[in-house]
Symmetry: C2
Subunit: 182 residues, 2 copies
């Protein structure tokens, strides 16, 4: 039910023509090849995620595919996978009331609302699961489209760790800790 | 060599009588029973670590015992384990030049310089390994002895996530992101 509701809402906001017809649904095993292709592309680019660019398929799968209480989803246009997200508790025990999420969109599909659809899905999911807030631990400050997307959805920058991310073109840039209390 | 040097330095700073005679050395498998006892005590207290208080022995071991490029150590008085620390890269790939570390001291041994010895060891280690900085991602703001210890050793608070830690007595308190550039 929650999946269907989020999908409809996103579809209803999409302008025809230049935005993707995005549906967000739970990841299934048959989604792994396109999800890995997106991850591989994003991680090797080294512009947005502090992940090992030499990460193997197996390690990527361990890292990205969540089990309950977390969830991994894909954004699809019919059955074509445009992007993926994972979400769940940011920490354990006394920190488990704050959620986190991560998002990756295929390079060819950026700027068409896929990230927005995934973020809105994750926020709806986290609120529905009873989390008090969502936290992003390491948003690369030069990734302006992500920073602006998060700001538009209620996130603020708690602080920025200076020079914590070695961008291949820009050199060492900051990592924002971003946070949104529900 | 690095172990011996760090130990000597700590011993040289200890005031006789009321401070522990602390030596810091690499963890070995036979240290696991006392290390797990300390972890279990710390985690069940739920006052300082956002870890699951029901964590099993096996999960704790997976989480705490680092493999290269990370390192896990114990602080000992002769062969008695007083505390433990783990250290390594805070993130992967483009974030791997910033280190992190975590520290746990047995309740009965607190206030005797064990945490100080572990922190100094970790800082020496991280500098020796060529890291540019050390970051602590989630320091419970009510854990004043830890916050003050870190401040005395050059760490500052980059930001505080409000209400992100459910303290059993104080309710929801903040988590500091603390950082020290070398």
């Amino acid at each position: 039910m929650r999946h269907a509701r989020a999908s409809n809402r996103v579809a209803g906001r999409s302008a025809p023509g230049y935005r993707a017809r995005v549906r967000v649904r739970a990841f299934t095993d048959t989604d792994w090849p396109p999800v890995w292709q997106i991850m591989h592309e994003v991680v090797r680019g080294q512009e947005t995620f502090p992940y090992d660019p030499e990460m193997t398929d197996e390690r990527a799968r361990q890292m990205w595919i969540e089990t309950p209480p977390g969830l991994t989803v894909v954004a699809v246009d019919r059955e074509r996978v445009l992007g993926t997200a994972k979400m769940g508790p940011n920490r354990g025990g006394p920190g488990a009331h704050v959620s986190t999420a991560s998002f990756m969109v295929a390079a060819a599909e950026r700027g068409r609302g896929v990230g927005t659809a995934l973020l809105r899905f994750a926020l709806d999911w986290a609120k529905g699961e009873g989390y008090a807030a969502m936290q992003f631990n390491a948003v690369v400050e030069s990734n302006r489209s992500a920073v602006e997307l998060y700001r538009r959805h209620g996130f603020g920058v708690i602080g920025t760790v200076p020079r914590a991310f070695a961008h291949p073109v820009l050199g060492r840039v900051g990592l924002h800790l971003m946070y949104h209390e529900f």
